[in-house]
Amino acid sequence: MEAFLFWLFSIVGVACGAMVIWNRNPMGSAVYLVTTMLCLAGLYALLSGAFVAALQVLIYAGAVMVLILFVIMMLNVRQEVVPREGSLPAWIIAGVLGLIVVVNLAVLFRHGDSPTVAEDFGSIEGVGAQLFATYVLPFELISVLLLIAVIGAVVLAKRRAP
């Protein structure tokens, strides 16, 4: 069962990931990216990270991608008439180089089976306890980061008086 789900999620995820960069239309890319993100959430759940899996769906698929989709709709970018950017050789070279990098990295990963983990591994309580004990300072710093993002989004995107 686990193996089946792993292969399902990873193959679909990788295929959709490739479609994100191959698709001509931003809308299509966005939908493929959402699919990849949902597949990743599935993989997280397989890695016993239930809470993070839910967060992945909630924030990435439910907020970030919605925002991107929203902007695509707002700009109303239709089917691009221009051919795909980058010449075919460039894509092939990039693909081959990418493959080499992945293979080289893959050789280095020699991690076998993972240890059995406690029942509450990856639960809300477990992650929350870590977040608010050990990692409380990063958590606080994130608030500054988000504040900056809010200010930035408002300042940059607001319509200016001519």
Binding site: E2, A3, F6, S10, G13, V14, G17, A18, V20, I21, N23, P26, S29, A30, L33, L40, L43, Y44, L47, G49, V52, L55, Q56, I59, Y60, A63, V64, M65, L67, V71, L75, V77, E80, E85, A90, W91, G98, V102, L105, A106, F109, H111, G112, D113, S114, V117, G122, G126, V127, Q130, T134, P138, F139, I142, L145, L146, A149, A153, V154, L156
Partner: protein, 100 residues
């Protein structure tokens, strides 16, 4: 039981895919999405390592990185929007005022 390495390979493939996308695509929105893809790939690595090390610190890292990605996306989209308002295009090749 799927070995952790498999997850890491998936993560590496996605990361490289995203990187290729950022470097080759010229559509601002798609470049932004490729960045998100890269961050997602990193998150998968964190989750896999967290499982391997039996340490929930990795989950916290993912939590933080997701938040960062959200902030980045908001700012990036605002920049794209402001460019589009004056230029009516999201193709980066038109952004060449500075190549003189």
């Amino acid at each position: 039981m799927i070995p952790i390495s498999y997850y890491l390979v998936v993560s590496a493939i996605l990361f490289v895919t995203g990187a290729i996308g950022v470097l080759l695509r010229r559509n601002a929105l798609i470049m932004l999405m490729c960045l998100e893809l890269m961050l997602n790939a990193v998150n998968l690595s964190f989750m896999a390592y967290a499982r391997m090390l039996n340490d929930m610190g990795g989950h916290v890292f993912v939590f933080l990185s997701i938040t960062v990605a959200a902030a980045e996306a908001a700012v990036g989209l605002a920049i794209i929007l402001s460019i589009y308002r004056t230029r009516e295009t999201v193709d980066v090749d038109y952004l060449s005022l500075m190549r003189h």
